[in-house]
């Protein structure tokens, strides 16, 4: 099917992350520079060796707070000389910057690509009390590609659409609120050990069940928590990787197949694009789901984590509820530690790259109090509905 798997020529060599503020007093560019300079140093590189910059999305595609810094601005701010840079909204979800960066290296355009994701939703919402990003755009009629089909029916948040995926999962597979709660409870337990996490106070099943209903069956704790933060990842050609602080982490396989319509209501309601992504990723490696030692899976809404568990073959289709029941399997000392930094539900909505950052910390044994057992293979995935991407990461 594939005659050469180019991502295997690429490794993650460094990571960085700013403070995770709620809100932060630092500007979006300052957060971004903090993350990027830390990542460059972590890789044992100098800025002169960075010859590519990638992010997802780019500047201002969805309002300032969602993507306040794009590749052009960052290139100028850090004084980088690059062969290639790119952003843009159209891509396989929050991991698109990494997937594009891998391709830039594989094609010979670059040797070291700086990938970043900055988000300042917390400080923006402090100034604008609107509860939903969509309601900020109340002027004029909606003609956006997808949302014009939802906002006339007062679908004013992605939560409404994800809730319908959850409802259908409950209906088709018998998934329960108690099972879904395990995603939120697991993230909170892990966040207690992460000094950067936004929510660190213990949460019980009662706390979850008594939390405000947002859109049935999703409660407040099924929705991720906004923050101000930037995360950066350095991708390097494997044969160019320096003897830096970290053993390179190979990109063993990428997943980014998007065979379904790009629309939140025209896709399979219990699978979305995630299953296409999973099939592509596993077709590009000899490794199997049983080889995975940790999983960092998108939890913008808890139901999406359940779908990713199934889509990546980490549990049988329809079985994610029973798989996470009780929380032992997905705990830090369980068979498949999940969202070990608290995910986005409790850690903060770093939106995609936060998962990759955490996967690398765990593979390198740098996760401090939340460090899990030594392992070589981690999987991370991000996105939901019609878009998604995944990475299978292996420590050399």
């Amino acid at each position: 099917m594939f005659d050469r798997l180019y991502e295997k020529d690429v490794a993650i060599t460094g990571i960085g992350q700013s403070e995770v503020g709620r809100p932060s007093q630092l500007s979006a560019m300052r957060l971004t520079a903090d993350a990027c300079l830390e990542a460059i140093a972590d890789a044992g590189l100098t800025r002169d060796e960075i010859d590519g910059v990638a992010c997802w999305p780019g500047d201002n595609n969805n309002g300032d707070s969602f993507s306040p810094v794009g590749p052009n601005a960052l290139k100028n701010a850090l004084g980088l000389n690059v062969n290639w840079f790119g952003g843009g909204y159209e891509g396989p979800g929050p991991l698109a910057g990494i997937i594009n960066g891998v391709m830039a290296i594989a094609s010979g355009m670059c040797r070291n690509v700086l990938v970043f994701r900055t988000i300042t939703e917390s400080s923006t919402r402090q100034h604008n009390k609107q509860a939903s990003a969509l309601t900020n755009k109340t002027q004029g009629r909606d003609s956006s590609f997808a949302w014009q089909w939802y906002t006339p029916f007062n679908v004013l948040s992605a939560a409404n659409l994800m809730a319908m995926y959850a409802q259908r999962h409950f209906h088709d597979y018998g998934t329960t609120s108690e099972q879904l709660a395990q995603i939120a409870l697991t993230c909170r337990r892990n966040a207690e050990l992460n000094p950067k996490a936004v929510y660190r106070t213990p949460m019980s099943m009662d706390d979850y069940m008594q939390s405000r209903m947002i859109s049935t069956p999703l409660r407040m704790f099924d929705c991720d928590v906004h923050c101000d933060a930037s995360t950066a990842i350095i991708l390097s050609r494997r044969d160019a990787a320096k003897d830096g602080r970290n053993p390179p982490i190979r990109i063993e396989a990428m997943g980014a197949a998007l065979n379904q319509p790009w629309s939140w209501d025209q896709i399979s309601l219990t699978q979305g694009a995630a299953f296409d992504v999973g099939r592509m990723m596993w077709a590009r490696t000899d490794l199997k789901p049983k080889d995975v030692g940790s999983a960092q899976l998108y939890d913008g809404f808890s139901i999406l984590t359940m779908i990713w568990l199934e889509a990546l073959g980490l549990c049988p289709v329809g079985e994610s509820g029973r798989f996470v029941e009780g929380g032992q399997r997905i705990a830090l000392d369980g068979e498949l530690p999940l969202n070990t930094n608290g995910g986005q539900l409790s850690g903060g909505r770093t939106h995609g790259l936060g998962y990759v950052h955490e996967a690398c910390l765990q593979l390198w044994g740098r996760a401090d109090k939340r460090q899990i057992a030594d392992h070589q293979v981690a999987v991370t995935a991000a996105g939901g509905g019609p878009l998604g991407g995944s990475l299978l990461l292996v420590r050399d």
């Binding site: 004029g140 014009q148 006339p152 679908v155 004013l156 319908m164 409802q167 049935t216 025209q266 309601l269």
Partner: protein, 131 residues
């Protein structure tokens, strides 16, 4: 309840204004006979340009739903039901709408529904009631 209306275009106008004549107009391809939504000038199944709006029965069933409790804007009167309705004409032919006329907790997946229209300005919103 206030609603954010769609911007009308040549492609979507029939869907949003068919209700003026009490018709739910869904795009259909005359080459491969398949309905599709959202409307577009080209058939996503066979890429034919022989497409156009056609009246359907307005009957369907609830593919999934949610009861929204969150006051996203001060004007919203929650709770209300958002649903993905699948039309009887073709498997997978569906769109997001609202279910009205019954208590929100009475809605269920598989519930048969039929369309009615609510005029807002120059748009006739296709909403659904229990059939």
């Amino acid at each position: 309840m206030p609603r954010k209306l769609p911007a009308l275009t040549g492609d979507n106008r029939a869907f949003w204004q068919g209700g003026e004549n009490n018709a739910l107009l869904i795009h259909r391809c005359s080459a491969c006979t398949r309905y599709f939504h959202p409307p577009s000038p080209v058939c996503p199944a066979c890429n034919s340009f022989e497409v156009g709006p056609q009246a359907v029965s307005g009957k369907g069933q609830v593919a999934s739903f949610t009861i929204n409790h969150q006051p996203w804007t001060p004007e919203l009167q929650e709770p209300f039901v958002i649903a993905i309705v699948e039309l009887v004409e073709q498997a997978g032919l569906r769109f997001v709408s609202n279910i009205e006329g019954i208590p929100v907790t009475d809605v269920f997946i598989g519930m048969p529904v039929r369309v009615h229209f609510q005029q807002e300005d120059d748009v006739w919103l296709p909403l659904f009631v229990k059939d």
